[in-house]
């Protein structure tokens, strides 16, 4: 871009210079030529007069001049005759340049004049005079002018080119620096920022936006790193259990029954690891952009479907699932994300419930979209744990740690999905009484309740 701007400046300057030079040259030429022609005409006319053309015998006196010659007594000795007929000025037939065979140029004028009659009563005689003078001085002067104009233009052009380049480079230097800074940013160096004070005022908003974007990226990468570290950490104990069980078993000869028990224990551990891996993959997919566009979804129907799917686990835990939703509520959403969210909250509500307890699903419309709530009559969440429930691998009930089968990822996945839909998650809980999760999703309502 520097080159383009500099070239544009240079071309503009050159065009201006050349136009100016051309104008100067042409104007000067016109003036010089007029001057040359004038002196040529004067001399030609003088010559005509020498030979009796209009104006009588007045050698060397141009016809436009007037004179009176008086003596001491005041008597007129000589004055131009007043002769209307012969005061007709010579007529210019043509003017032009003539190039000589041996080189050199002449400026030539052709005049047609009337000669005064030799005697009164004679017919008027007409003569043609071709009068030339050397155009060499004229040509030389113009050549010198042209050369100096060209030299000046060239010099000015070079200076302009250098200046344009310098100025443009200096003006665009902050952009180069910014580009270099940005080029130096990769996932290991996301803490670098663009220095907005170095940028010209027009570019500062761009610099600030860039910095904000970098800050957002840095945060996302940091979150990913933390999640990966947590996930790796969580895998350690189940893997250790598997390894130790196998190592201990192999240290001595075992009978078939003991080996079978060991294999069953290892199978349980392996299944647990698989669940963890599946949960991690869901998490990764949940954060990825949705592959398809949102569709109109019958929300109450979806809630009832999730409740039906959870029936098996719920009745096994002695928990009843109910659904209270308006007659019709249709919203434009990603159906699979919504189902994943509702299922996640439902699983959580059933798991942390008590036998004979209840889980209630509900939904409704807000002025921005829809809300969905999942309430349980379970053990509740302690107040100091409430802000952390959506964090990955967080388990409010420490007794469920380790091999209990609770990965601590369910609510984190729910939150990721809700975030991806642009919504919010909230939770309220009373210890011993129950917990209510409420999510709000901004969306377009196809049919409101």
């Amino acid at each position: 871009m520097t080159r383009r701007i500099a070239i544009a400046i240079l071309v503009t300057a050159l065009v201006v210079l050349l136009l100016g030079a051309a104008a100067a040259y042409l104007a000067t030429r016109a003036i010089l030529l007029a001057d040359l022609d004038e002196s040529l005409m004067a001399r030609a006319t003088a010559l005509l007069q020498l030979h009796g053309a209009s104006g009588g015998e007045r050698p060397g006196v141009p016809p436009e001049d007037r004179f009176i010659l008086r003596n001491e007594q005041g008597q007129t000795l000589a004055r131009p005759p007043i002769d209307p007929v012969s005061s007709e000025p010579p007529r210019v037939v043509s003017k032009g340049f003539v190039t000589l065979a041996g080189g050199g140029r002449l400026r030539s004028v052709t005049l047609d004049a009337a000669l005064a009659p030799a005697a009164p009563g004679d017919p008027q005689r007409r003569v043609t005079l071709v009068y030339s003078t050397s155009a060499d001085r004229f040509d030389r002067a113009l050549r010198r002018l042209a050369l100096s104009l060209i030299a000046t233009c060239a010099l000015a052009g070079l200076l302009t080119a250098a200046a344009a380049w310098r100025i443009t480079r200096a003006a665009l230097a902050p952009l180069h620096d910014t580009a270099r800074t940005i080029g130096g940013i990769d996932e290991r160096h996301l803490d670098r920022r663009v220095d907005c004070t170095e940028l010209p005022p027009e570019l500062r908003p761009m610099g600030e936006q860039l910095n904000q974007m970098l800050a957002r990226l840095e945060e996302v990468f940091a979150q990913r790193r933390r999640f990966l570290a947590d996930a790796a950490h969580e895998l350690r104990t189940p893997v250790a259990a598997l390894l130790t069980t196998l190592e201990v078993s192999l240290r001595r000869p075992r009978d078939a029954a003991a080996l079978t028990t060991t294999l069953q224990n290892c199978l349980a551990s392996a299944r647990m690891l698989r669940r963890l891996v599946d949960a991690l993959l869901s998490q990764a997919r949940g954060e990825a952009p949705a592959p398809s566009a949102p569709q109109p979804v019958d929300v109450p129907a979806l809630l009832r479907q999730c409740a039906a799917l959870a029936e098996g686990i719920a009745s096994g835990a002695g928990v009843q699932v109910t659904c209270s939703a308006p007659e019709r509520l249709e919203a434009v959403l990603h159906a699979d994300r919504l189902q994943s969210v509702v299922t996640g909250l439902l699983d959580n509500a059933v798991q942390y419930n008590r036998p004979g307890g209840r889980v209630e699903l509900a939904c409704g419309a807000t002025d921005q979209g829809i809300w969905i709530s999942v309430s349980d009559t379970g053990v509740g969440i302690p107040p100091d744990a409430l802000p952390h429930v959506f964090e990955p691998f967080y388990r409010a009930d420490p007794a469920a740690n380790g091999g209990g089968g609770h990965l601590g990822l369910g609510l984190h996945l729910v939150k990721s999905q809700v975030d991806a839909m642009g919504g919010t998650c909230g939770v309220r809980s009373t210890l011993g009484a129950g917990t209510t999760f409420r999510i709000e999703l901004p969306c377009v309502l196809a049919v409101a309740a």
Binding site: H233, T244, T245, V248, N265, P398
Partner: protein, 230 residues
């Protein structure tokens, strides 16, 4: 040797306990921090293997209280927490060793052996009393160059006596250190096993190493004791 194991992951805990039992240790297993704390206060362990992230009381708190009580029980932290800060914190609090999960079984055994060895003042992994040689690393016993084959219990008893070499060991001590809280035992069992040990270690050889201290208990020593009962 009696070992306390505190680990909340059920399968890992059971594997640890089973494996250590097979190595001849008496193992008390618990799944939460409060239980581990209680056991540490009431039983004199030869070694404790603690997870850090335990429900109830965490491993750091348990260790801190142990050291406040001036308990010199060697503690090995067995944990998924592997950062340098965690290791430094654990060791500075008074832990004797730190092993990160997942781990190699052989390494865990070697580290436990080293901890117990150091606690009993033995520099190397071989204990020699007169012409009796106990290779703690390999678990082999020789006397006068001849290998002696012992059962796990007998070896455990010999090892404990050797760690208290030259000191009187009461029957209660032996019960505490060789049998975990789940075993039904009476002090007769101790006499029976001393008899088995004597038969293998002392009987074939001129010099007696296992001495009865009447009214008190037993002692393993190279020196002659005043009262010697077969």
């Amino acid at each position: 040797m009696r070992i306390l194991v505190a680990e909340d992951h059920p399968q890992l805990a059971r594997s640890l306990a089973d494996g250590l039992c097979e190595e001849g240790y008496a193992v008390d297993l618990c799944f939460d921090g409060n239980e581990a704390d209680r056991l540490a206060r009431t039983v004199d362990y030869d070694c404790a293997v603690l997870d850090i992230m335990l429900p109830g009381k965490d491993g750091w708190a348990i260790l801190r209280d142990m050291r406040r009580r001036s308990s010199r029980v060697p503690v090995l932290f067995l944990t998924a927490r592997d950062s340098t800060e965690d290791r430094v914190k654990g060791l500075d609090l008074g832990a004797d060793d730190y092993l990160v999960k997942p781990f190699e079984w052989d390494e865990l055994l070697a580290r436990i052996r080293a901890l117990i060895r150091r606690a009993h003042g033995h520099g190397s992994s071989t204990i020699a009393i007169a012409d009796l040689e106990i290779d703690l690393g390999a678990g082999r016993v020789h006397r006068a160059g001849q290998p002696i084959v012992l059962t796990a219990r007998e070896y455990a008893l010999l090892r404990y006596l050797a760690s208290r070499q030259g000191q009187v060991v009461t029957r209660a001590d032996i019960l505490d250190h060789l049998y975990d809280s789940l075993d039904e035992t009476s002090s007769n069992v101790v006499d029976v096993y001393i008899g088995y040990l004597r038969a293998k270690i002392d009987k074939p050889f001129p010099r007696k190493l296992i001495h009865t201290v009447r009214g008190q208990g037993y002692m393993l020593s190279a020196g002659e004791s005043r009262s010697d009962e077969p």
